[in-house]
C-alpha cells in the first residue's frame, strides 16, 4: 500500500512539474508578444521576381463553397504566368467535378485532378497526386471553404526568398465567430494560438507550426522525402517536424490572414479535436527521438519542439493527475508539499483551465482588440474538460494505430456555411 501511495505522490509531483514547465512556456510567449522586440516580416519585401506557385485545394463534395474560393483566387495580385491552381477532387459525388471543369475551360491555369478510382482517399494522398504534376516550386494549400485576400499568395511566397525557409504558415481567422458560445471560444483559442503562440515562436526563433492550410512549403523538400505520409492524419504537423529535422525552418506571417469556418456544434468539434489528437500523437510517436537527436535542430528548437510534440498527451496526463489528486486527498496523503506550498498553489492555478487561457488567449484577445469576447474567457474551463476527454480518446486511437499499423481514414469536418455569411466576407 505504501508503494502505491508513493507512486501516486510521485505522479502528482511529476504532473505539477510538467504543468509548471508549460505555464512558464506560455508566460514567455505572452510576454514576448506583448513587450518584446518583434521580428520584421518577409511581407515587407518588394520583389518583382517571385517563384512559380502551385495552389492546391483538396476537396470532397464542395459544390457549395468552391466558386467563392476560385473567385477570390482569380482576384489575387500574383502574376498569372507564375500561378497554377490544382483542384484535387477526391471522390466527390455532388456537382464539384462539373464546377471544376467549368473553371478549367475558362481559365487554363486552373487544373482539376479527379480522384475516382480505388486508390487511397484523403488529403495526404490527394496532395501526393497533385505534387507529381505541379509546376510550382512553392506549394500553397487552401481548404475549399477559404476566401484568400488579394495579396495573400504574394505574402506567403515572399518568405521563400530566404533559402532556409522550408514552409510558411499564415493566420486562420474564424468567420462565424459570433454564432454561439462554442464559436466565440474557438475564436479566442485561435487568437491565442496565432496572434500570440505562433508569432512568439517565430519571434523567438523556436518552432512555428505549419498548419496544413493557409500556408506553403517547398515542393522539392516533399518530393525528396517521398511526399506526404498517407498513414498520418496530421500531415501538417508531420511536415513541420520533417522540415526541421532536415535543417529547414518554418516561419509564420501574422498578416497572411484568411477566413475559415469554425465548427458550430460540440459534436463536430469533439470529432475534429479527436482526429487532431490522433494525428498529432502519431507524429509524436514517430518523431520524438528522431527530432530530439537530429543534428540539424538547435537546442531551443528542440526544447520547444518536444513540448509541442507533447501537447496532445498533456491533457491525458493532467486528467489522470486530477484523479490522482482526489485519491490522495481522500486517503489523507496530501502532505507531499510541506514547505512547497508556493509550487503547489502555482500548480493548482495552472491546472485550472489549460494554463493558456490566462496568458496567451487573454493576450491574443487584447492584441486583437476583442474587448467583449474576453467576457467568455472563464468558459474555457468547460471546453478544457471537453478537450481533455476527446484528446485522450485521440491519444488512445494513436496508440492503437501504432500497435496495429492500421490504415487511417481521413474524414472531412462538417461545413456550416450559409449564403449570408459568404456575402458578408
Amino acid at each position: 500500500m505504501e508503494m502505491v501511495v508513493k507512486i501516486l505522490q510521485g505522479y502528482f509531483i511529476f504532473s505539477i512539474v510538467l504543468m509548471i514547465i508549460y505555464a512558464i512556456r506560455h508566460f514567455c510567449f505572452s510576454y514576448n508578444r506583448l513587450f518584446a522586440k518583434q521580428r520584421v516580416s518577409y511581407r515587407d519585401i518588394y520583389d518583382s521576381e517571385l517563384p512559380m506557385v502551385t495552389v492546391m485545394i483538396p476537396m470532397h463534395n464542395e459544390e457549395a463553397v468552391i466558386r467563392n474560393l476560385f473567385d477570390s483566387l482569380l482576384k489575387c495580385d500574383y502574376d498569372r504566368e507564375k500561378l497554377e491552381i490544382i483542384a484535387i477532387n477526391d471522390h466527390s459525388d455532388d456537382k464539384t467535378p462539373e464546377i471544376l471543369e467549368e473553371y478549367h475551360d475558362r481559365y487554363l491555369f486552373i487544373r482539376p485532378i479527379h480522384r475516382n478510382g480505388d486508390g487511397e482517399r484523403g488529403k495526404p494522398a490527394g496532395l501526393n497526386d497533385a505534387l507529381k504534376v505541379a509546376r510550382g516550386e512553392v506549394i500553397i494549400v487552401f481548404d475549399a471553404d477559404y476566401r484568400p485576400s488579394k495579396n495573400l499568395i504574394k505574402k506567403l511566397a515572399l518568405a521563400f526568398k530566404d533559402p532556409k525557409v522550408g514552409a510558411i504558415m499564415g493566420r486562420v481567422v474564424p468567420i462565424n465567430a459570433k454564432k454561439n458560445m462554442l464559436t466565440v471560444l474557438l475564436n479566442l483559442e485561435r487568437s491565442g494560438g496565432y496572434q500570440v503562440d505562433q508569432q512568439a515562436r517565430f519571434n523567438m526563433r523556436l518552432l512555428p507550426q505549419y498548419g496544413g492550410t493557409v500556408g506553403g512549403f517547398r515542393k522539392n523538400i516533399m518530393l525528396a522525402t517521398g511526399g506526404f505520409d498517407t498513414k498520418i492524419l496530421a500531415e501538417d504537423t508531420e511536415l513541420t517536424y520533417r522540415i526541421y529535422s532536415m535543417g529547414w525552418n518554418v516561419v509564420y506571417d501574422n498578416s497572411a490572414e484568411c477566413y475559415e469556418e469554425s465548427p458550430e456544434t460540440w459534436e463536430v468539434r469533439g470529432k475534429q479535436i479527436r482526429r487532431w489528437s490522433r494525428g498529432h500523437n502519431n507524429v509524436m510517436f514517430r518523431y520524438f527521438f528522431r527530432f530530439l537527436f537530429s543534428p540539424n535542430v538547435g537546442f531551443a528548437e528542440k526544447v520547444d519542439g518536444t513540448l509541442l510534440l507533447l501537447v496532445y498527451v498533456v491533457p491525458l496526463i493532467l486528467g489522470l493527475a486530477q484523479i490522482d489528486c482526489l485519491i490522495l486527498f481522500f486517503m489523507g496523503k496530501m502532505e507531499i508539499f510541506a514547505g512547497w506550498w508556493a509550487i503547489l498553489f502555482m500548480g493548482i492555478y495552472n491546472t485550472w483551465g489549460n494554463f493558456a487561457p490566462f496568458y496567451e488567449i487573454g493576450s491574443g484577445a487584447f492584441l486583437d482588440g476583442m474587448e467583449k469576447e474576453i467576457l467568455a474567457l472563464p468558459q474555457l474551463c468547460f471546453s478544457f474538460y471537453f478537450y481533455m476527454w476527446y484528446i485522450s480518446l485521440g491519444f488512445f486511437d494513436a496508440v492503437i494505430d501504432i500497435i496495429t499499423r492500421r490504415n487511417v481514414k481521413w474524414a472531412k469536418t462538417k461545413r456550416f456555411s450559409n449564403e449570408k455569411r459568404v456575402e458578408n466576407a
Binding site: S48, D77, K150, I175, E373, L377
Partner: protein, 340 residues
C-alpha cells in the same frame, strides 16, 4: 448555521460570477466576424501619394475648382498656385501647384502639396507631404514630416530628414547626411551629385542562382567562386573579389568584402556588412543592422529588389539600389569618407 449558509452563498456566487459574464455576449447568425480581414488590400509603396492624389482630384472635380474649400477626409482649404509670389513663409493650406515652381526662400508647408509640374523647395524647408507629377527637388537641411513622392525624379539634397517614406515612379537621388525610413523607386541613387543620370548597371555574364546547399561554412576565400547556396549558423565572410552564385542565409552576421559579388539573396539574423563596390543581385534582409559601403550595387536594372533591416541602416555615397530600402530604426546616408 446561518453563517454556514451565508458562507456557501458567497462562495458559490464568487465561483460562478466569472461564468455569468458570458451572458453579456451578443450572438448572431454567424454573419459577423470579430476580426476583419481586409481582402482587397494590395501592398503599394506609393500608397500615400496615390491615395492623396485620388482624394484631392476627386474632391476638386466635385468642387469644380471654384472655391477654396474642399472635403477630403475633413474640410480643407486649398490654394491654387499660379505664381511663385503666392508662396509665403508659412503655408497653412493645401497647395495645388500648376506651374513649374522654384521656391527661393525657406518655408513651412503645414498641409500637403500637389504639383503638376517640376517643383523645387528651398533649403531648410519643412514639408508635411508632397506629391509631384514630375520632378520634386528638396533643398538641403529640409524636413519632410510624412512623405514625398514624384512620378519622375525625386531629389533629397544633403542633410534632409525624409519622413516616413520617399518614393518615385522612376528615380530617387538621396544625398549624404540624409535620414530616412523607407525609400522606393526603380532606381535609388545614393549620391551627392544630383545631376547624375547614367544607368551604368553592372552586367555579370553568369547571374545564375545555384540552389544546391552547402551548410555551416564560415567563409568564402578571396577571389573564390562558389556555385552553391550557403546556409550557416556561423558568422560568414565572403572574401574580397569572391563570387557566390547562390543565396546566403546566416543566423549570425554576414560580411561581404570589397568587390565581392552575390548573385542571390542575402538573409541574416545578425548584422550585414557590405563593403565598398560589392554587389548583391537580389534582396538583402536582416533582423539586425545593415552597413553598406560606397559604390555598392543591390538589385538589377529593370527589377525591383529590397534592402530591409530591423535595426539601423547606413549607406555610403555612390551606392545604388534598384527597388526598396526599408529600416524600422532609421537609416542614414554617409558622406564620401564612407563607413569603413
Amino acid at each position: 448555521m446561518l453563517e454556514l449558509v451565508a458562507c456557501c452563498i458567497v462562495f458559490t456566487s464568487i465561483t460562478l460570477f466569472p461564468f455569468g459574464l458570458g451572458r453579456f455576449l451578443d450572438f448572431d447568425d454567424g454573419v459577423e466576424t470579430s476580426l476583419v480581414v481586409r481582402s482587397d488590400n494590395i501592398k503599394n509603396p506609393r500608397y500615400f501619394s496615390e491615395s492623396f492624389r485620388r482624394l484631392l482630384l476627386d474632391a476638386i472635380e466635385v468642387n469644380g475648382g471654384i472655391n477654396d474649400r474642399l472635403f477630403l477626409s475633413k474640410e480643407e482649404r486649398i490654394l491654387y498656385i499660379k505664381d511663385r509670389r503666392q508662396i509665403e513663409e508659412m503655408m497653412d493650406k493645401l497647395l495645388f501647384v500648376r506651374i513649374p515652381l522654384k521656391i527661393d526662400k525657406k518655408a513651412v508647408f503645414l498641409k500637403e502639396v500637389y504639383a503638376e509640374e517640376k517643383i523645387v523647395f528651398a533649403a531648410s524647408s519643412v514639408i508635411r507631404a508632397v506629391s509631384g507629377k514630375k520632378e520634386v527637388i528638396i533643398g538641403e537641411n529640409s524636413v519632410v514630416k510624412r512623405w514625398a513622392d514624384a512620378d519622375e525624379l525625386l531629389v533629397l539634397k544633403n542633410n534632409c530628414h525624409a519622413g516616413k517614406s520617399i518614393t518615385s515612379g522612376k528615380r530617387v537621388i538621396i544625398s549624404s547626411g540624409c535620414e530616412f525610413l523607407r525609400i522606393y523607386a526603380p532606381v535609388i541613387e545614393i549620391s551627392d551629385c544630383v545631376e547624375k543620370t547614367d544607368d551604368d548597371s553592372i552586367v555579370c555574364e553568369d547571374m545564375h542562382v545555384y540552389k544546391k546547399i552547402v551548410r555551416n561554412i564560415k567563409s568564402v576565400a578571396e577571389s573564390e567562386e562558389l556555385k552553391n547556396t550557403i546556409i550557416t549558423s556561423h558568422n560568414l565572410q565572403i572574401g574580397e573579389n569572391a563570387v557566390v552564385y547562390g543565396d546566403i542565409k546566416s543566423t549570425g552576421n554576414i560580411k561581404i568584402c570589397k568587390n565581392a559579388i552575390v548573385t542571390g539573396n542575402v538573409f541574416a539574423d545578425g548584422t550585414i556588412i557590405i563593403e565598398d563596390y560589392a554587389k548583391v543581385f537580389e534582396n538583402v534582409f536582416t533582423e539586425s543592422a545593415i552597413y553598406i559601403g560606397a559604390g555598392v550595387e543591390i538589385g538589377r536594372k529593370g527589377k525591383i529588389k529590397s534592402v530591409i533591416s530591423r535595426e539601423q541602416m547606413y549607406i555610403g555615397v555612390g551606392s545604388r539600389v534598384y527597388g526598396y530600402i526599408g529600416t524600422e530604426r532609421g537609416g542614414k546616408v554617409m558622406n564620401k569618407d564612407g563607413i569603413f
